[in-house]
Symmetry: C2
Subunit: 160 residues, 2 copies
């Protein structure tokens, strides 16, 4: 499930993120605390889109000693969102989900029979999106796209 990334590369990427965060805090006269670092780290290491609650849960699990409060999670997420370091998304279900803005972009195609998920990126779609946003006067930040269908293996099963 979680894509394996080369350790060195991952560290470099994370360190960049971390120093951006520190810079952001410094620029605004804010303090770099262990809680804030852990929240960033969890956002980085998780491949999922996290809700404030799931993020809090993750932190409680991995760093029980910190006894981080949910309020701090909310406050930090707002801070990160205001600074465009994370983006909040809310698909249908209740409650927002958050993800780091720095990750590689990709879309998903989901099988409605077995739940298998494939990822894809299509340059043509990406460029059309930019054009559409432009035409509508928007400055595009990102997008999210899901295609739902039936995957090959499920199609085969259904024929039997």
């Amino acid at each position: 499930m979680s894509a394996h990334t080369d350790f060195t590369e991952r560290t470099v990427e994370y360190n960049k993120l971390l120093s951006d965060f520190k810079q952001l805090l410094r620029d605004n006269g804010l303090k770099f605390t262990i809680q804030r670092e852990v929240i960033l780290e969890m956002l980085y290491s998780s491949d999922e889109h996290l809700t404030p609650e799931s993020l809090h849960h993750l932190i409680q699990e991995k760093h029980p000693d910190l006894n981080t409060g949910i309020a701090t999670v909310y406050r930090t997420l707002s801070l990160l969102e205001d600074s465009d370091m994370v983006t909040s998304l809310s698909f249908g279900a209740q409650g927002k989900k958050y993800e780091l803005g720095a990750k590689d972009h990709h879309d998903h195609i989901i099988c409605t029979k077995c739940g298998a998920i494939s990822e894809f990126v299509d340059d043509e779609i990406e460029s059309r999106q930019k054009k559409i946003a432009e035409e509508l006067g928007f400055i595009i930040q990102e997008h999210s796209m899901q295609i739902y269908g039936i995957c090959q293996p499920c199609q085969t099963k259904m024929k039997k």
Copy 2:
């Protein structure tokens, strides 16, 4: 933005919607009430994506005699959503927004600052999606796509 529709045609379209709704209610042993009719009517006649609160407000305004409760609005929207007559959208901004599902397929572009939503359809994207699904061996059923960005008015505000 809002396509002008000829009055007669509009009435025909609305009547179709209304009879579908009545049928739905009948099929499930539910009752056709004035409140339910007014909610459907407001959803139909509004070009906006409505929140439960704004919908309630609209109804209070146009039909003050009914004194419709917000709970009824929530209950009716859930009913309509469960029956796929309306679709709920929940992007960034707080609170869900609802739109009639009977309308033509379209995607959404959402302002991450103020929550404004515009709609669009792009044939090229639609056809690319079909192609991608095909390449990945999927039989496409449907899709959902959202672009997030900053709308014109918010860009202007930010410059000040």
